[in-house]
């Protein structure tokens, strides 16, 4: 490890390429912490947005008009507003409406103060999940509507209930149809997590910003950031393609 650190320090002295995240323990820790936060934020939002998409698409097929209208309104609201504006709105406008008290130790004293119940990380999860979820609703709807009417009729003829048909026939087929579109949206979601820096979520862009401000190595950190996101998205795409292949039905969709 020391050898690697020395090599990068030498690289800085000889070429001026300053990668503090390799040889400076403080910067390295910050960077890895940012990377971890980005991964956690992405994974949580991926899961929630898919769940929101599935439930939303199911409600869109409901018999009653009210749940359909609610889902339509939700999709319109979240799809028509920029995610950065949503994030600011949630954190600064909605955040103060839900307060809690905390005890903070200031030296020997205890300082009791009001603080928002949800942290910036929570609001980022909520905002990003609902944002990506709105698109997922539409993506799943496209998959559901592509399931042949005759297949559903066949299931009805077998005496399956509405829920059984949705769970065992429509959803498995719809999932396979809409996977490429879902892939696209989830890739976008991972990239959109960078917006959370605006409400001080210590994710990768936030940490990198702090590192390049302290170490004045803006071009180096920009390059590192770019490659890290290429890597992160590549892992996601690889996993999704494996999944796509594993779920392939012989003869379906050709």
């Amino acid at each position: 490890m020391d050898g690697i650190e020395a090599w990068f320090l030498d690289l800085y002295h000889t070429t001026g390429i300053n990668l503090t995240i390799v040889y400076d323990a403080f910067d390295r820790e910050r960077f890895l912490w940012g990377l971890l936060n980005t991964v956690i934020l992405s994974v949580i939002c991926l899961v929630f947005s898919v769940i929101i998409g599935i439930i939303g698409a199911w409600l869109l097929g409901a018999r009653h008009a009210i749940p359909r209208r609610i889902v339509q309104a939700y999709v319109q609201f979240f799809r028509n507003t920029p995610p950065l504006v949503q994030m600011y709105f949630f954190f600064f406008a909605l955040g103060p409406m839900f307060m809690t008290t905390v005890e903070r130790h200031v030296g020997q004293m205890v300082f009791v103060s009001e603080t928002p119940l949800l942290t910036s990380f929570h609001w980022a999860v909520i905002s990003l999940s609902f944002f990506a979820g709105a698109f997922n609703v539409e993506i799943f709807r496209s998959g559901i509507e592509a399931v042949p009417r005759s297949t559903i009729e066949a299931a009805e003829a077998l005496g399956m209930s509405r829920w059984q048909i949705y769970r065992d026939v429509i959803l498995p087929l719809a999932f396979r149809i809409c996977l490429p579109a879902l892939n696209n949206n989830l890739v976008n979601l991972v990239k959109t997590t960078t917006l959370a820096y605006a409400i001080a979520v210590p994710e990768l862009l936030y940490m990198s910003n702090q590192i390049w401000s302290d170490s004045v190595n803006v071009p180096e950190m920009m390059t590192v950031l770019l490659f890290v996101y290429v890597g992160l998205v590549a892992i996601l795409v690889f996993a999704m393609q494996r999944w796509e292949r594993a779920m392939k039905l012989p003869g379906f969709g050709r």
Partner: protein
């Protein structure tokens, strides 16, 4: 310091004799009957607009002192950080007193006068109820900051605070008021101007200012006679307690820098007290 004091004596002697071989900006000012000073108009209490639209504040008051000494009228010209040195270079102002941090690269563009007349550093804005007194007490507490500020790392590394950094001061101040953090770490001169607003009545700037960076007033390059006069002026401001008095007048707690400079020059010439 000895060298500085000698410089001051020389400056005083020069300004008294009032003779110079070549016409310079001092002659221009005398001929014009007007001293043009570039000051800030958006940085209370150092330079801001009063209700009548006049530029007032600590720096305009200092500018008035210079005009009074020269026996000419004062014309205040509002400048901003991005154009203040150009105003001086182009001769649109004779003197600049505009909250400018003294940096070596700036000394190459304009003539920054020694000694420094003021200084700002890093401090925090915190609710009075928190009762903070030491930087070390920030250990483990969430502290709001501005993304890219150089003291974030220090506050985190040396004092153990958890920095929550936003993109601008408005967001950080909102987060402080909403209780996301216990304090806001920023330039003390900015925090001082917030404290004068009723909105921040329950807040204080409780810690010892750190990372002091001095402010320099400046004349155009090559205006040595005016610079020497201003050196004497600044020493006199420190010595007589003029800057401390102006801070009090404009509702600012006396800054450690102004107190230190006052004491420093008193020690050199204790006779002033009599």
């Amino acid at each position: 310091m000895k060298k500085l004091f000698t410089g001051v004596c020389v400056a005083a002697a020069l300004s008294l004799s009032g003779q110079a071989a070549l016409a310079d900006v001092l002659d221009d000012i005398a001929e014009r009957g007007v001293l043009r000073v570039g000051v800030k108009a958006d940085y209370p209490p150092y330079g801001y607009l009063d209700e009548a639209g006049n530029i007032v504040g600590i720096e305009p008051a200092l500018a008035q002192d210079v005009a009074d000494l020269l026996g000419v009228e004062l014309e205040l010209i509002p400048v901003v950080s991005s154009n203040r040195m150009q105003f001086l270079e182009q001769g649109r102002i004779d003197l600049m007193i505009a909250t400018m941090t003294d940096r070596n690269d700036r000394r190459e563009v304009v003539q920054i006068v020694d000694p420094n007349y003021y200084s700002s550093g890093t401090n925090i804005l915190a609710p009075t109820a928190a009762g903070l007194t030491e930087w070390e007490q920030l250990d483990g507490l969430p502290v709001c900051g501005i993304q890219g500020a150089f003291y974030n790392r220090k506050t985190e590394e040396e004092f153990g605070a958890e920095i929550v950094a936003f993109t601008g001061t408005a967001e950080a101040l909102a987060a402080l008021q909403q209780g996301t953090c216990v304090a806001f770490v920023y330039d003390d001169s900015f925090l001082i101007s917030r404290l004068s607003e009723p909105e921040w009545a329950d807040y204080e700037m409780p810690l010892q200012t750190i990372d002091d960076a001095p402010w320099g007033l400046a004349v155009a390059l090559g205006e040595d006679r005016f610079a020497e006069l201003m050196s004497g002026m600044i020493v006199n401001w420190h010595l007589s307690g003029r800057i401390l008095a102006l801070e009090t007048e404009y509702g600012v707690d006396n800054t450690p820098f102004a107190e230190r400079m006052h004491q420093l020059f008193l020690d050199i010439n204790p006779s002033i007290e009599r």
